[in-house]
Every structure is written in structure tokens, then in C-alpha cells.
């Protein structure tokens, strides 16, 4: 309790200080010069730094920052205190960060308040278009561990060097083996299973969270058989959208035998209460629920062909970050195998942001096995998809409103 109120106090102080700094007379160039001179002439005394780390995502992102990363980082750099700011779940949380940085730019603030931010993929397209970010990633030691395609490409936007994934998150179908004897291996098999078992499959539509969105995107990949074009290569052709009509009308037909649940958590709750037998979930939420005893331990996962999307969350450093060097240290620290294994995999049940082969040795074996038990690395490579290119993504969501919920 006391720690919490202390942290709150710290947060308030940092906010006020940053406001004072931000609103005060702006004489940035001279400040920067002074620092350089000091470093050249005298032995550098570690300057007190308060690093501002702002994160989108669920409340576990705040807990991770506040309770794990910030204290451990301070052990490495005693002169650095990290203030963790949380903006909220989903793209809406990233949107808030984007608007904050955009407002800085529009106000012409050369020195902002945010040192490092944790954002979703959509943010990258918005921020790259407005030129808000610093290219920093390729300088880091941990850049060599990056192997996934989404390190360079976020929903069709080239982001090479601007973002480093902290983790990858994947959606999959969770099922209760008591009522699903043979889990469907493809969307096709799922459709026939749902016909045979009406009311036993549930997902959360497209307005109730990303697990449902992901299921719908997977549906479109399956029906169009154009994953490469829609998510990787492009180019965007608006005429494609009209060809999806039947796919969405089929989905409307499918929805008649389906329960629409109350959100990402709603699907897991409905599974746990035995209301449904199967539904799309985020893998990390699935394992976290299980670890907390909120989900029956026999519940399993399957990733049907032709796959469902997942997404990373990226570290980015704003162009006007007040402490860019320390921000880079922060990112390098979190993307190191030592944090990726024990924290990202073991404690938070995410897939690592860096290549799995560098993490295996530093991760507790049972954690590694747990994460890859139902969905093996091979299945992940084959069926772990990306979300579509932004224009197609928007069109897919709107097409759902037009042809599926409009039916």
C-alpha cells in the first residue's frame, strides 16, 4: 500500500516536473551543449534521470513496467528512476500515445516528456506517417537477435530500425476437451463442427476486443486464400473489397450458430463456466488465466489452418525524447535474453520478442514447454499470421459491419 502511494506520489511529481520543464522557457540547444562540455572536461558524474516509459495494453503491462522492469533497471542504473504511465488496452491505448506525441509535434516541442513507449502495430503506421519516431534499433546490441518479419514490417508499413518487439502475442482457439473430442485443424473443420454443435462456439465480434477481430481476419484469409497479398506484399487494391461479400455473408450464416461473448475475457469466462466449448483467445491471457486458477486446467489450444493473426508490441523512442540514450539502454535491457526468458515467457506467457533460439537456454524448461506444448514452433511458423495491411484491415472491419452484422 505504502509502496503504491509512494509510486503514485512519484508519478505526480514526475508529471508536474515534466510539465514545468515543458512549459518553462525553451532553451534546449544551450542545455544540450552544456552537457556535452561537461562530459568532455570532467569525469562524468551520473546525472539524476527520471525516465518516462509510457505503455499501451492491458493492465498487466503496467504491472510489468512498475513491478518488474523499473526496479530491475534501477539496480543497473541507480541514478535512473522510471515513471511508468499506462494509457489503456488495445489500439485505443496506442492511439492515446500517438495523440500525445502528435500534439508535441504540432506544438513544436523540441524536448518532449516521453522517453520510450510501448505500442501496438497500428501505431507504427500512424507515427511513421507523421514522422514522430527516432530510428534507433539497429544501433542496439540486441538487434542481432531479431528475426521475425514484423520487426521490419508493421501492417504493411516499413519500420525497419524504428521499433523493437518486446513480445509476440498470438491468438488461437481454446477448447474444452470434454466436449471437443477432436479439435478442428482448419476453419473448414470448425464450420462443420459448429453446424453439428450450435451455440457451443463463442467469440467476441469485432467491437469487443482483438481476439474476435483476429478470428474474423483469419476467416477472410481462409475464404480469400490471399494471405500474402492482404498482409505482406500488397499492393492495396480497393476492388478486392467487393470480392469479399460472400465470405462475410457466410460468416453471418456461421454467426447464427455462434454465441457472441462479452469481450476477450468474456470468451475465457464463458469457457470456464462451461457455456461454450471453444472460442478464440489470446495465448498469453489463456495461460495467465490458467496460472491464476480462473480456467480449467484441462483446457487446450489449437491453431487452425490457414492460421490466425498475432501481433508484437513494439518499443519506440519518440524523436523528441528527453533522454534518448537512457531510453536505448532500457530497450536493450528488456530485449536481452535474460529478461526475455524469465520475464516475458515464464512470468507473462508471451512468445519472446527476439528469436526463440537465443532464449531457450535462459528460460525455465517447464515454462518453455508449457508455451509450446499445444502450438509447437513449427505450427507457429506455419499458421502464426500477421494482421493485414492497414488499408485492408480497415476494410475488413467495415465489411463486417456492412455484410455480417448488417444481415
Amino acid at each position: 500500500m505504502r509502496i503504491k502511494s509512494l509510486t503514485m506520489l512519484l508519478l505526480v511529481v514526475v508529471t508536474i516536473m515534466s510539465l514545468v520543464v515543458a512549459c518553462g522557457p525553451t532553451a534546449e540547444p544551450s542545455v544540450v551543449k552544456e552537457t556535452v562540455v561537461v562530459q568532455v572536461t570532467t569525469e562524468p558524474e551520473p546525472e539524476e534521470i527520471s525516465l518516462v516509459y509510457i505503455t499501451a495494453g492491458d493492465v498487466n503491462m503496467l504491472a510489468l513496467g512498475q513491478n518488474v522492469l523499473a526496479p530491475e533497471f534501477q539496480e543497473m542504473y541507480p541514478n535512473v528512476t522510471t515513471a511508468v504511465v499506462h494509457t489503456g488496452p488495445g489500439d485505443a491505448g496506442s492511439r492515446t500515445i500517438f495523440e500525445k506525441l502528435l500534439a508535441d509535434k504540432q506544438a513544436g516541442k523540441a524536448r518532449g516528456d516521453v522517453d520510450v513507449a510501448m505500442v501496438h502495430q497500428k501505431f507504427m503506421a500512424w507515427a511513421m506517417e507523421e514522422d514522430l519516431l527516432m530510428p534507433y534499433a539497429e544501433e542496439l546490441d540486441t538487434w542481432q537477435y531479431m528475426s521475425a518479419g514484423d520487426v521490419n514490417n508493421a501492417l504493411g508499413t516499413n519500420i525497419q530500425g524504428y521499433g523493437m518487439p518486446m513480445f509476440h502475442s498470438q491468438t488461437a482457439l481454446a477448447y474444452n476437451p470434454d466436449c471437443v473430442a477432436e479439435p478442428p485443424q482448419s476453419y473448414e473443420e470448425l464450420v462443420s463442427w459448429v453446424e453439428a454443435n450450435p451455440g457451443k462456439f463463442g467469440y467476441n465480434g469485432i467491437k469487443g476486443g482483438m481476439a474476435g477481430v483476429s478470428f474474423v481476419v483469419g476467416w477472410v484469409y481462409w475464404k480469400t486464400d490471399q494471405y500474402e497479398k492482404l498482409a505482406v506484399s500488397g499492393p492495396v487494391d480497393e476492388a478486392d473489397v467487393a470480392t469479399w461479400e460472400q465470405a462475410y455473408k457466410d460468416l453471418a450464416e456461421f454467426n447464427k450458430n455462434v454465441v457472441i461473448t462479452a469481450g476477450n475475457v468474456g470468451t475465457l469466462d464463458a469457457l470456464n463456466r462451461g457455456e461454450i466449448c471453444m472460442g478464440p483467445v489470446w495465448v498469453d491471457m489463456f495461460y495467465t488465466f490458467m496460472a491464476e486458477g480462473k480456467l480449467a486446467p484441462e483446457t487446450r489450444l489449437t491453431l487452425p489452418a490457414p492460421g490466425m493473426p498475432g501481433q508484437p508490441m513494439y518499443f519506440v523512442i519518440p524523436k523528441n525524447a528527453p533522454h534518448p540514450d537512457m531510453a536505448k539502454e532500457w530497450v536493450e535491457y528488456v530485449t536481452s535474453p535474460e529478461v526475455q526468458g524469465p520475464v516475458i515467457i515464464d512470468r507473462y506467457n508471451w512468445y519472446p520478442g527476439i528469436d526463440g533460439q537465443y532464449v531457450k537456454d535462459v528460460t525455465p524448461p517447464e515454462a518453455f514447454d508449457r508455451l509450446y506444448k499445444d502450438i509447437t514452433p513449427e505450427i507457429m511458423n506455419q499458421y502464426g499470421r500477421s494482421f493485414p495491411i492497414v488499408e485492408y484491415f480497415d476494410a475488413m472491419l467495415e465489411a463486417y459491419e456492412q455484410w455480417t452484422s448488417g444481415e
Binding site: D91, A92, W126, G208, A270, R273, E275
Partner: protein, 298 residues
């Protein structure tokens, strides 16, 4: 409040004339902070959101295309929001009148106890109500499981309550206590002699309610109705958490969807403007019929 504001200047006008000079501006100066704050924090965003509902990203000219999109995609949700707001306000109003009558006419320890306990929902935020209702109303939630215990519900085919029914139930649960508070304050102002006179002429309970209590506290009743209606139209968390992914859903969920997934403030503002219009109708009614009656006809 309104009657005082209108009444006083009429009496003091001659005195002020004599003082004249600088002091004429004093009232305006004193009003400036409050009015300025209202203009900056309320009027400006309000007008700008209406203005922006006619703009499309990347185009300079004013256009109706946001409204066209609203009519293509969200018409059903607009009517749904309106239906939910009307239905839940009406049910909550009836319940609150009954409750207020009980508290007004009853006496004794039980009445006092209920009188202090019924206010509980007022202090529970919508987001908590939503969390509560999702587990209470779920197919295998507390309600259905309890009903199954006494054989009223078959858990293999439980009734689906996470739709307009559950949403209305949740809104009524939340708004009912608040409305009772306001309606009761109106009832308390009615002199006992009216009720006693009606009773001595043989009026039954429903006649006391419909002929004495309700007509004599029409002002507080309409305040309760309007406040409950407008907050129901504007609530996001409850419909989002209860029926966010379903069709139809409410206007507020659609507004959040446009902003979150598309960054599309144009259509979001158009939906918002429609919400204003829904609410303005009730506000106009309130101003024209209630305030006027209170101020001029007493």
C-alpha cells in the same frame, strides 16, 4: 433556481439604475470566470465536434459523407440506443415512483432501513455495474444457476440475457435508485393534508399516486426522467462490456469503435451529433414545459 434568478432582477432594477457607472459591469465581471470556463470547456468542444462531423480526413470542404456512412452502417444502432434509453428510463421511473411512494407514505423501522439502503447503486460506477452484470446475467451466471436450482431454467439451454434484456435490466438497476432519490424529494414537499384529504374522501393508493403525488411533483419527476435518459444515452462502459460485440449495439460503442480502429473522428463526431440531437429533444421538452410552468404559472 430559475424562479429566483428571474424574480430578483425585477425587484432590484430601480436601485441599480441609481448606482449606475462602473457597477453595471460588475455582475458581468463576476460571471466571467464561470461563463468563460463553460465556453472553453463545454461550448467550444461541443461546437467543434458538430463542425468536425462535416469534415473528412484529408479533404478541406464540408461534406455530408460521414452522415451517409452513419445511415449505411449505424442506423439500427441509433434506434437501438433510443429504444434502450426509453425502455429503461420508463421502467426505472415506474419503479422509482412506487419506491418513493412506499418511503413517503410508510413508516417504521423497515421503511427507514430501506430508505437508507436503496441509495447504494447511486455510488456504484457504471464500470463496476457492468462487471457485476456480466457475471450475474451470463448463461451460466449467478441468476440462471440460482433459477436452475429451483427448476425454472434448464442450464443446457439457458435464456440469453446478454442482449437488450440484460442491458435494460442493468440500466434500470443503476438508474432506479437515483431516480427514486429525486422523485422522493418531490414527494416530501407535498403537504400531508392533501394526501389525508384524498384518503378521507376514499381515494385508494393508486389514486393517491396518480392524482396527488405524481401531478404535484411533476417538476422533480421530469428532472429525474431527463437526467436518467441522457446518462443512459451517453453511457459507454455498460453496453460495451455487456453487448459490445453484438448486433445491434449502442451508439457509444460505435463511436469508440470508429475512433479506436479507424482513427475516424468524422464518423465518430457525426454519431456524437446524433446523440446530442436525441438528448436535445428531451432537453427542449424540459425547458419548454417544465421550467416555463414553474416560473410563470405559479
Amino acid at each position: 433556481m430559475s424562479s429566483v434568478a428571474v424574480g430578483e432582477p425585477a425587484e432590484r432594477a430601480p436601485g441599480r439604475k441609481r448606482r449606475g457607472g462602473r457597477e453595471v459591469f460588475l455582475p458581468f465581471l463576476l460571471l466571467l470566470p464561470a461563463v468563460g470556463l463553460m465556453l472553453a470547456l463545454y461550448a467550444y468542444p461541443f461546437i467543434s465536434s458538430i463542425y468536425r462531423s462535416f469534415l473528412v480526413k484529408g479533404q478541406g470542404a464540408l461534406t455530408l459523407s460521414n452522415y451517409v456512412k452513419v445511415s449505411e452502417l449505424y442506423l439500427r444502432d441509433i434506434f437501438f440506443s433510443l429504444e434502450i434509453a426509453f425502455l429503461s428510463t420508463a421502467v426505472a421511473a415506474v419503479l422509482s415512483i412506487l419506491m418513493a411512494t412506499y418511503l413517503r407514505l410508510g413508516s417504521g423501522r423497515v421503511v427507514r432501513l430501506i430508505g437508507s439502503v436503496y441509495r447504494l447503486p447511486i455510488f456504484i460506477p457504471f464500470v463496476v455495474v457492468a462487471q457485476m452484470m456480466t457475471t450475474f446475467l451470463a448463461p451460466h451466471g449467478l441468476l440462471n444457476v440460482s433459477l436452475a436450482q429451483i427448476g425454472l431454467v434448464n442450464l443446457d439451454t439457458p435464456p440469453d440475457l446478454l442482449n437488450w434484456k440484460g442491458l435494460t435490466f442493468a440500466f434500470v438497476w443503476k438508474q432506479w435508485a437515483f431516480m427514486t432519490l429525486i422523485v422522493l424529494s418531490g414527494f416530501e414537499m407535498i403537504d400531508n393534508t392533501y394526501i389525508e384529504a384524498a384518503r378521507s374522501f376514499g381515494a385508494k393508493l393508486h389514486q393517491v399516486i396518480l392524482r396527488i403525488l405524481v401531478p404535484m411533483s411533476r417538476a422533480s419527476l421530469s428532472v429525474a426522467l431527463i437526467l436518467a435518459f441522457t446518462s443512459t444515452v451517453g453511457t459507454f462502459t455498460l453496453p460495451y462490456m455487456l453487448i459490445g460485440g453484438k448486433t445491434p449495439t449502442t451508439l457509444t460503442v460505435d463511436i469508440a469503435h470508429r475512433v479506436t480502429y479507424f482513427g475516424d473522428y468524422g464518423v465518430a463526431n457525426a454519431l456524437g451529433t446524433i446523440a446530442y440531437i436525441l438528448v436535445v429533444f428531451t432537453a427542449v421538452y424540459y425547458l419548454r414545459y417544465t421550467v416555463r410552468r414553474e416560473v410563470y404559472e405559479q
